[in-house]
Amino acid sequence: MNFKKRNLVCLIALLVFATGVHAGARKTVYPVVFAHGLAGFDNLLGYYYFGNDYGTFVGDPCDELLETACNGSIHSGQKALAASVTPFQSSEVRGTQLADRIQNYMTSTGVTKVNIIGHSQGGIDARKAAAVLRARYGRQVVHVMVSVSSPHRGSPMAKYILDLGPGVTSVIDALAKIFGNTIYGSGNDGVAAAKQLVYNDYSSTDGVTTGMKAFNNNYNVDANTANYWGSIITAQDSLNTNPALFLLKEGFYNIDGDGYCVDDCDNDGAAGKGDGTRGNGDDDGVVGINSQQMGNRLQYNECALCFDTITVNTGLGYVGNLNAPTSAQMTSKSSVVSQDHLDVVGVPPDTFSEEEFYASILEFIVTKGG
């Protein structure tokens, strides 16, 4: 085994330091709130959300050299909150709950602002929470807002499940198969959760207006509610997706999520349309590429011989109006992280280091003053 890469590595390390990037993540100025997606915080298919199989949360810092249940890639003084909201509900409900949890945390600790990292629906809840907190405090409370794999413009999977497409016998059963049995707990409403994640109002006869389009109009990207907005996009070819994504795995349904049009022109449940080819890495098993960009598109630079980093993909521009992205922002596969929807929060099988991924986001937040 030849390990003579050392000189090259030293050179890389020198370059890294020369550009001001630190090894491991620095401590963020404001605590980081982790907002989970569908399913409960401590039970996503029997796994810990944003964690590993030993009960370790990615926001738990190590403060001793030999401590084992912690993330060694983040600063030993890092402050983080693993916020927990109702596992299956609309984002109107969950967003208000998230705002309450953040307000509680701020009251207990005395901090004046927070950053939020939201996965999947957690990224949508976070937008509402930021607006609620803005209203309650009369000022901006969220500094950096980062969404990961969030269906900001809807998910065809949600509509497919609501429509009871082939392979789906009931909405609840399908959501349970994908996300686990917490849906059966009290306070959950799987149908409301699914309706939330469809772009248009799902039903014109139910007397209420649901869906991402209306939600985006109410809680859009807004400098008043958060100082910095960015998103990480995930997509993977069908062969590597998680076995829990059964609709895809069993060949029932595969999202075609990399075509452009205004609104949901093909009525599949998400804004944009397909390009005619499914399974070409245009979705992460739950959300298409064309639904995920919010604010800046962030690029995750995974590095085997150095610490991972996040940079901004400046070429694609900023999505300031979630209901009106450009064609490139909806279709480009640039800076897409090749992981499925569940890989990035600790559900195997994957070769993905959640600890380093979230550490790199924390370091990025520091660079944005958060």
Partner: protein
Amino acid sequence: MIKNKKILYIVLISISVLFIGILFLRSGKDKNQKDFESILTEGKTFDPRELPSLPEDYSDHKLMEYSVEEIARILQEKYGKNIDNPAVQIAMIEELLKDLPKLYPNDWVRVLNQILGYAFPNKVLELMRMSENLYNYNKFRESNMSKVGLLSDEARRQMIWKERYRLFGEKADQIWSMEKKMTTIGDTLKRIKESPAGNLDAKLSNYSQTLKEQFGKEYPRIMENKREQFTEGFMVSVQKDLKILSFGERKSALREIRATMGMDNAALGRWDALEEEREKIWQNQQKYSEKRTQLSSKKGGMSSDDERELDSLRKKFFGEEAEIIKNEEASGYYRAQEERTYGVN
């Protein structure tokens, strides 16, 4: 006859080959499992060797930036003192497995063996067995993911722990010690929640004692990071107790809970103010809800004047949050209809 016999032999041999082939394939072992098996069967040990000096700034770099010998030296430094602890062994193996399979996709098991052999020559076989068990455990979790996700909490625990004990024996208790602690705390909260209302002080004392027992000397640091979650967990579990109290009694009880959970006077002062504010908001929600029900139940539905009246009421009662509450109602969510969780919202 001879020709028929020849055909018969060929058929029999082909069937045998096919049978052996199927048996071979059915063993289902992947290359990594076979590599582990081969290394452990061979039982090769390593002679102690002189390793290079410890790199000065190694904690600022990834392990894989260094040579095998340097990695081994760093592992000695980081994990050597507690290498007999199975949780430490797992943490070390996991650190190596973050990058080894990516860097050496076809040969990572052998590279792992080499690094462990250089670092801990007397324990290399034990560590490789631990690595093999961890690999097999992860394979088990992957292949049973959907099944496990649909089980009840109790059934899931039973299934997972059975496999953990099968692979790791009693060491499993140490490896998943944090999970066991959190489970114990969760079970305590569940018992408190299911117990009859009353004896709030005793419940708080029981919970606080459980936390201290579970975390021992780590208690202050754990509370520093998780005080909010542990406090809210208790609040949710004692709703029956909090609901039967008057506002004044409840405010005092909430303060006592938070003080016991380690919040300082400044935090308690902030909470007092927030509790007052929230009480007022809930009262306003009730008033608003009554008026809204009255207007919306009018024959023919609400007129535009009624809508304007509601807008004005929302503004009066909820200030800057009025517009958000209007959005919520349009989506079918009414805050006043929710059950209040005292101490949480």
